[in-house]
C-alpha cells in the first residue's frame, strides 16, 4: 500500500489539470470515509451532488473505479486518493472493506475465480486484464503515432519559417505544441519542446543549439516509426524519452543493483506551478565504480520527499539503473547514510572525458547532459570567456550562466576537482572540491 508514489500518480494523470484538481482532494476533510487493506484503497469523496463519489483502487494491478460522471480516466477522485496515500499512508486505517468495495474486487477477480482450484501467483495477469491492458496500450500507441506526425510537421514548418522566428514567436507557438503532445500522452516529447522555447538568445550560438535539439526530436520521431527494428535498450530509450514510464516496483524486482558508496554531488529543484509538483534532481557519483547516476524525487507542494538528500551527503546502498543504452536514471533498492563523505575520482584529463562522452553519445544520441567529475582542472578567464583547463593545457568552454566567478575564486589559478554537466557545447559546473572540502556552486 505504501508503494504508490507521487511520480506514479503523475504518470497516470490524463492531463495537468486533473493533477491539480487531485491535489486539492488530498485534504482529508474532503473525504467522508477512507480505508485500506492489503488488496485495495477506497474512500468516499464529497462532490457537487449529495451522494459522495465512491472511489476504489485495486492495489494488485492499479485498477480503479469511481462513481463520478467524469469522462477522464482516471478521474481526479482516483488520483486524489492515490496522492493522499503517497503523501501520508498513515491516513488510511486498515479496516475490512465495505460491501461496495469487496463486491467490486470480487467482480474484478471474477474470471480468476471461475477457474477455481488453479493456483496462480497473485501478480500473474488474468487474460481479461491482459486484454484490457493490451487495448489500452494499443490506443496509446495510436495516439502517440498521430502526435509525433504533427510534431514532425511542426518541426519542418519551423525550418521553413526560419530559426529566427523562434526568437520572436509568441509563447502560444510553443505552448500549443506542448499541449498537443500532452494530449497525445507524450509528456516527454512535450518537455523537449518546452526546453526548445528557452534556447533562442541563450548564447551567441543558440541557433546551433536549437537546431541540434530539433534534430534530436526529428531522430526520435524516426526512431519511433521503426521502433521494432531497434535494439531493445534503444527501444527503451525512445519510449522513456517520449514519456512512457516504468514502474519502480517492476524495476526493483527485475534488475540487479550496483553496490557502492554514493555521493550526492549536485541537486536542483523544478516546480510545476500548475500542479504544484516538485521534482528534485539529484546527481550521484559512485566511489569505486566512478559512475554517475541521476535520482529523481517527487513531492507535491510542501510535502517532504521520500528520501532526504542534500549536496555533499554520502550514502551506501544498492542502486538500480533504469534500463537504457547509456543508463543514468536510477533508484535506490536500499540505502543508508554514511557519516563521512569523500572526494570523487573522475577523469584524469579532458581527452579521457571527451572520449567517454563520444562513447555515451554513440549509445544514446539523445543524451543531452553528460554528468562528469573532472580532476585537476583550473578555471581560467580569457577576456570575457571562461575555460576549464587540464594540466595538459587542453581546455573546454564553461557556460557563462554558471557560477563562473565562484569557481574562479575557488580555483585561484590552482587545480581542483569539479563536477558538472557537459551538453556538447559547454560545461556547467555544479560542485567543486577544494582540498577535500565540498563546495556547492
Amino acid at each position: 500500500m505504501m508503494s504508490i508514489t507521487a511520480e506514479e500518480v503523475k504518470s497516470l494523470a490524463p492531463d495537468p489539470a486533473s493533477l491539480k484538481a487531485a491535489q486539492e482532494l488530498t485534504d482529508v476533510s474532503r473525504w467522508v470515509s477512507l480505508g485500506a487493506n492489503e488488496a485495495a484503497l477506497w474512500g468516499e469523496c464529497k462532490g457537487s451532488v449529495q451522494e459522495p463519489y465512491k472511489v476504489r483502487i485495486d492495489l494488485s494491478n492499479r485498477g480503479f473505479a469511481c462513481t463520478c460522471p467524469s469522462r477522464k480516466s482516471p478521474c481526479k477522485h482516483v488520483l486524489g486518493l492515490m496522492l493522499l496515500v503517497s503523501a501520508s499512508p498513515a491516513r488510511l486505517k486498515e479496516t475490512a472493506p465495505p460491501a461496495w468495495v469487496s463486491e467490486w474486487l470480487q467482480k474484478r477477480a471474477g474470471p480468476k475465480s471461475d477457474r477455481a482450484g488453479q493456483a496462480e501467483p497473485e501478480t500473474a495477469p488474468s487474460p481479461a486484464r491482459e486484454k484490457d491492458a493490451a487495448r489500452r496500450a494499443a490506443r496509446r500507441e495510436k495516439l502517440a503515432t498521430a502526435g509525433l506526425e504533427t510534431l514532425d510537421l511542426w518541426l519542418q514548418d519551423l525550418i521553413r519559417q526560419g530559426l529566427a522566428f523562434a526568437q520572436s514567436a509568441p509563447a502560444s507557438f510553443w505552448e500549443e505544441q506542448c499541449a498537443r503532445l500532452v494530449d497525445a500522452q507524450l509528456p516527454g516529447a512535450a518537455r523537449l519542446v518546452r526546453e526548445m522555447q528557452e534556447i533562442p538568445g541563450i548564447s551567441p550560438n543558440w541557433a546551433e543549439i536549437l537546431l541540434l535539439k530539433m534534430a534530436r526530436l526529428h531522430l526520435l520521431i524516426q526512431a519511433y516509426r521503426k521502433l521494432e527494428s531497434l535494439p531493445e535498450l534503444s527501444r527503451t530509450d525512445v519510449r522513456t524519452l517520449l514519456g512512457w514510464t516504468l514502474h519502480r516496483k517492476e524495476l526493483l524486482l527485475s534488475s540487479p543493483g550496483l553496490n557502492d558508496d554514493w555521493l550526492v554531488v549536485a541537486q536542483t529543484l523544478e516546480e510545476d506551478e500548475k500542479s504544484g509538483l516538485r521534482t528534485q534532481i539529484n546527481w550521484l557519483w559512485g566511489k569505486t565504480n566512478r559512475k554517475p547516476a541521476q535520482l529523481l524525487l517527487f513531492a507535491f507542494k510542501t510535502k517532504a520527499f521520500e528520501l532526504n538528500l542534500w549536496p555533499g551527503m554520502a550514502l551506501h546502498g544498492e542502486l538500480v539503473y533504469f534500463p537504457g543504452a547509456y543508463p543514468l536514471r536510477a533508484i535506490f533498492k536500499d540505502q543508508r547514510r554514511l557519516e563521512s563523505a569523500f572526494v570523487p575520482a573522475g577523469f584524469p584529463n579532458l581527452l579521457a572525458f571527451l572520449d567517454a562522452y563520444a562513447t555515451a553519445l554513440s549509445l544514446n544520441p539523445w543524451l543531452e547532459e553528460f554528468p562528469v567529475v573532472l580532476e585537476n582542472v583550473t578555471m581560467e578567464k580569457v577576456e570575457s570567456n571562461w575555460l576549464l583547463r587540464d594540466d595538459e593545457n587542453q581546455a573546454i568552454p564553461v557556460s557563462p550562466r554558471s557560477s563562473c566567478w565562484e569557481l574562479f575564486a575557488l580555483s585561484g589559478g590552482h587545480p581542483l576537482t569539479v563536477f558538472g554537466l557537459w551538453d556538447g557545447f559547454s560545461f556547467f559546473p555544479m560542485a567543486a572540491w577544494e582540498n577535500g572540502r565540498f563546495v556547492r556552486l
Binding site: 518541426l155 519542418q156 525550418i159 521553413r160 519559417q161 526560419g162 530559426l163 529566427a164 522566428f165 550560438n205 541557433a207 546551433e208 536549437l210 537546431l211 541540434l212 530539433m214 534534430a215 534530436r216 526529428h218 531522430l219 579532458l350 581527452l351 571527451l354 562522452y357 563520444a358 553519445l361 554513440s362 544520441p365 583550473t378 581560467e380 578567464k381 580569457v382 575555460l387 583547463r389 593545457n393 587542453q394 581546455a395 573546454i396 568552454p397 557560477s403 566567478w405 565562484e406 569557481l407 574562479f408 575564486a409 575557488l410 585561484g412 589559478g413 590552482h414 556538447g424 557545447f425 577544494e434 572540502r437 563546495v439 556552486l441
Partner: protein, 475 residues
Amino acid sequence: MSTLKSLAQSAMLGSTDESLLASAVRVGIAEVGGYVPVAFTGGGERCNPESRPRMPEKASRLLKRMLEGELADLLPEFLQEAAKRGYVAPPETLPGLLGLGRNKWPSLILPLIGERGNWLAAHNPAWAYACKREPLDAWENGTRAERILALEQMRTTDPAQGREWVQSNWEIDSPKDRAAFLATFAIGLSMEDEPFLEACLDDKRQEVREAARRLLLRLEGSRFVQRMWARVKPLVRVRSSFLKKETLEVTLPEELEAAAKRDGMGEFALPKKMGEKAGRLAQMLALTPPALWSRDSGYSPDAWLARALTCEWKEPLLLGWQLAAIGTADADWAESLILLWMTKEEAESLLDMHALSTLVSLLRAERIEAWVTSIEPTLSDTRSTRAIALLEMYQQPWTANLSRWVIKSIQQQATIFHQRLLQALPDFARWMPPELADEFSQGWGDEPGSNKKIGAFLQILEFRNAIKSSLEEKS
C-alpha cells in the same frame, strides 16, 4: 562540407530543404560527439597562499546564508566580528562579498577578502576598489571613494602622513572632495592638525569651513575653541541670590564682529527657528564644547539644565547645548539632556527631536539600564512611554541586565506598557547579548512561536548567537 553551424545559418531565415533536419542529425551528433578541446596558452597565473586563517566552516555557512539574503541586516555585525579575529572569508563567497562591497560596507568587507580577494578583484574592473595597491597609489589615482578609503586607512596608522596627502593636493581637488577628505581627520584627530584646520577657516568654500569647524570643536586646546569660549562665557552667568533659587542671567549677543563671522557665526544653520539674537546665542553655544561649562563652574550638566529651564532664554540654551553635545560626542551632557527629555514634558518642544536619536547614541549602556529598570511599569506616564522610545533609539549593545529586565517585563504581560514593548521586541534582538538566546527562549508560557513578534525576536537573537559561537569555534 556542411557543419552544424552552416546548417544553422541556412536555416536561420528559412529553408525549403526538406532533408535539412536529417543532415543536422547526422552532422550535429557527430560534431558534438567529436568535440576537440582547444589548446590553452598563457594564463596559469596563480594566487599567493593566504597568510591568515580562514573562518570556521560553520561561520562560512552562515555567511553564505546571509549573502543569499537571510537576515542580511546582520552582515555588518558578522563581518566586524570575523575581522576582529583576523579571519578571511572562504573563496566561493568572494564574488558575493566584492559585489556587495561596491555599494555597502566596503571598509567592513575588505579586511576579510585576503590574498584571494585581491587576486580576484584584479580580474574584474567592477571590483577595482578591492585590488591590492599601494595606499599612495590609491590616494593619487583612485576614484573619490577609493581615495577616501585610502585616506581613512592612512589616518588610522599615520595621521600626519594623511594630513600631508590632503595638503599636497589641496589646490587641485574640488571643494566637495576637500570637505570629504577633511572629514576623515576625525580619525586620529590631534592638536597637530590644528594649524591646518585653523587655516581652513579662511577657505573660500563654506563646506570646507564647516568641516574644519566640526573638527576644531573637538580640540579643546584649539585657538578656535579659545575664541568661542571667550565670546560665549560672559553671555551666560549663574545669578545667585539668598532668597530665590539660582537662575541664569543671559545676555544676547549684539552685532557680530568680523572675527566671529570667520568662526562661523551666521553661517551655522540651526534646525529650529528663533529670534535673530537668540539664534546667535544658540550658534555660539553649539560651537563651544559643553564640557567647558561644567568644568569652569563646577556645576554638573544637570545643574546647568535645571537652571536653564527657569530662564527666559531656555530655548536657545537647550538647543545650543544639544547641538554642542552631539558635535563633541559628550556623553555626560547627552545623558543629562536625555534625562531631561524623559522627565520633563516641555523638553520635547525645546530640543531638536530629529537629532534626538543621535544624542541617544552617545549614551552609555549602564545609564540606559539604570533609567529603564527603575521605572514603574504599572504607571503609564511620560517616563515609561519615553523609555520605550529610548530603547528603540538606542541601537548599540545593551547590557545583560537591561535585556533581562525587558524580557521579564514582557513575559509578565501586565499592562499597556508591556504590550508596546512587545511590539518593538524584534528590533531589540539586534542589540541584546546574543549568548542570552537560550535563556530568552524560555518562560513564554505557551509556544513562543505562536506570537509573531516573539518568533521574529528569537530568530534574530538565535542567529546572532550562532554567528558568535561559530566564530569562536576553532577553524
